[in-house]
């Protein structure tokens, strides 16, 4: 197990390395105005050239890459250009990351707590009203674009319950709506997959045998069906974590939460290359961590999976 985790980590570091290199080379193609900031219009062509040379952007690509990695290993992601001029990106991110973590993990937690039991209940009451209600909810969330229902929730729920529309750190009541909206989609996907795997499992022969033996329905559900249905569920954890990145971009800028998602929107609108680059790195690392966690969770839940040898594509 430990050996497997170690190997998997090493593999991810290689992937991360490749991704960072790709991201880096792509970012060299970014519009150069993004490095000049507000002063760009006043500068002459020669001044711009000197400025860019000083930033090291006229060096050969490999030298730039080397410098980039050297800086990265020291935890230096460059300085913000337009967002907060000359403040190190790392400092800006450090302020923001706690908000994003709180809302991201909070949403995943809520959706696990609600989605999984909902899926189990739906499988048990297959074809009855709860199942239909749940299916309706899932179709709604999958089909209606997130942008629309996030807005509708913000617009009407705040109206009906007289809640403040924007996030306020010191009023916990304002945390509620962003958290719930972010949890809506992952809840639906957990419920959908849980239901499907439970139903698949219920139709198998060993369940019929257990029934024939006279195993109690409760024991059957919880120690046979649930245990087996949980195994494929484990791999949806990373997908949810990835999802909260997108969710956070919408939600954070809607409720003006000072997190990383909102920052990305701001940075893009102000053409701040270094912040975009830093955020892309953080988000892709998060994605990779999510995938590793999913694989480990899967190995933990299912004793039959020996991921060490003969690995397959998920």
């Amino acid at each position: 197990m430990l050996w497997y985790v170690g190997k998997r980590l090493l593999q991810s570091i290689v992937t991360l390395f490749i991704i960072i290199t790709i991201v880096f080379s792509l970012l060299r193609l970014m519009p150069e105005e993004g490095y000049l900031g507000a002063a760009a219009e006043k500068m002459s062509a020669a001044q711009k050239e000197v400025y860019l040379t000083n930033l090291g952007l006229r060096d050969p690509l490999l030298v730039q890459l080397g410098n980039f990695y050297a800086d990265l290993l020291q935890g230096d992601l460059g300085k913000s250009v337009t967002y907060r001029t000359d403040v190190p990106v790392v400092t800006i991110l450090a302020d923001k990351i706690m908000y994003s973590l709180f809302f991201g993990l909070g949403a995943v937690g809520i959706s696990l707590l609600i989605g999984v039991p909902l899926g189990i209940l739906m499988a048990q009451m297959k074809g009855r009203w709860l199942d239909r209600l749940g299916t309706g909810y899932i179709v709604f969330v999958v089909a209606v674009p997130a942008a629309v229902y996030y807005l509708v929730i913000q617009m009407y729920i705040t109206d009906i319950f007289h809640l403040p529309m924007l996030f306020d750190e010191y009023k916990p009541i304002t945390w509620l709506l962003p958290l719930t909206s972010m949890a809506l989609a992952p809840t639906a996907s957990y419920a959908m997959w849980m239901r499907r795997y439970m139903v698949d499992e219920l139709n198998k022969d060993y369940i019929k045998l257990a029934r024939a033996k006279g195993v109690k329905e409760r024991t059957l559900m919880f120690s046979h069906v649930l245990r087996n249905a949980f195994i494929p569920m484990a791999q949806y954890l990373p997908a949810t974590i990835l999802f909260t990145i997108t969710g956070s971009i919408y939600i954070e800028s809607l409720y003006s939460i000072p997190g990383m998602g909102g920052l990305l929107v701001d940075a893009i609108q102000r053409q701040d290359n270094t912040i975009v680059q830093g955020l892309v790195l953080v988000f892709s690392s998060l994605g990779i961590i999510g995938l590793i966690l999913g694989d480990i969770a899967m190995a933990l839940v299912d004793p039959r999976i020996k991921l060490g040898k003969g690995e397959s594509v998920r």
């Binding site: 970012l27 089909a143 674009p145 942008a147 629309v148 971009i249 919408y250 998060l286 995938l291």
Partner: protein, 324 residues
Amino acid sequence: MSMYTEEIDNMSDKSRAQLFDFVEATDGQAEDIAYSNYSYWRSTWKSFLKNRVAVFLLVMVCIIVAFTMFQPYLPAQKSPTEIYLDDQTGLQARNIAPNAEFWFGTNSIGQDLWSRIWAGTRTSLMIGCVVALVEAFVGITIGTLWGFSRKLEMPITQLYNVVDNIPTTIVLILMSYILRPSISTIIIAMCITGWVEMARFIRNQIVILRDREYNLASKCLGTSDYRIIIKNLLPYLISVIMLRMSLAIPFAIGAEVFLTYIGLGLPISEPSLGNLINEGRVLMMSPDLRYQLIFPSIVLSIMTIAFYIIGNAFADAADPKNHV
């Protein structure tokens, strides 16, 4: 004795002549008995028709698509990009509520919302369809090679591991940040990541199917690989391919809305559903202007739900196990 034999012979001659008529038969007719008149697509269509909701939505989508095509040629239509002026004051006709002249009202700079919505639906649908087709083509090609060829398995798996590890959202954002926002940028950005899912699915199915007995038998009879893939393997996957394609269209529209939301979408001069929703979002704080958000949202929701349900119904219908 001999008389009896003669009698019997005569009888059997007679009966042969009376009981059986020899029919002229061609080889082609003999073949007819060997095949039932089962047609895959006809059965698929038949079981699709049984799902009333899906048929209704399909008709509706067809009408909407046809309407977006013909709308500019109908009488009394306004241009989606022209800024209209107020007759009396000569100022821009800003934020006019829906009335007889502007059916869905005007937006904050005085453009006609009705024609913008249909122009936007046209753009968004076009993006969605192109992305779905490219995804299907690239995904199926790579997926088949990946699953079928043992030599290509390793390199493609490595490629997959890298591409799959990059969050889709990040690729979308990066591509649109680097290239100029335009229709082709959005299409390219979505295609770069979209094929991965499809390819993986096709590959997994082909690995399962390729060594089944019927394929082994085909191979022993000397069928070429190409024919095995086209005739034996891909027909198995039609239902899945169809489902993925129909989901790709709403996803592409959603991604376009997302990109516009974070400021990387199409320019305002190019009306799209994303643009319209984004314009409406800015104004939603004042209740009188909410119609600018609500109209495009309704069109968008109808389109996505319809594609989702049609896709699922068609995937069910395309599965031969559900045929009679």
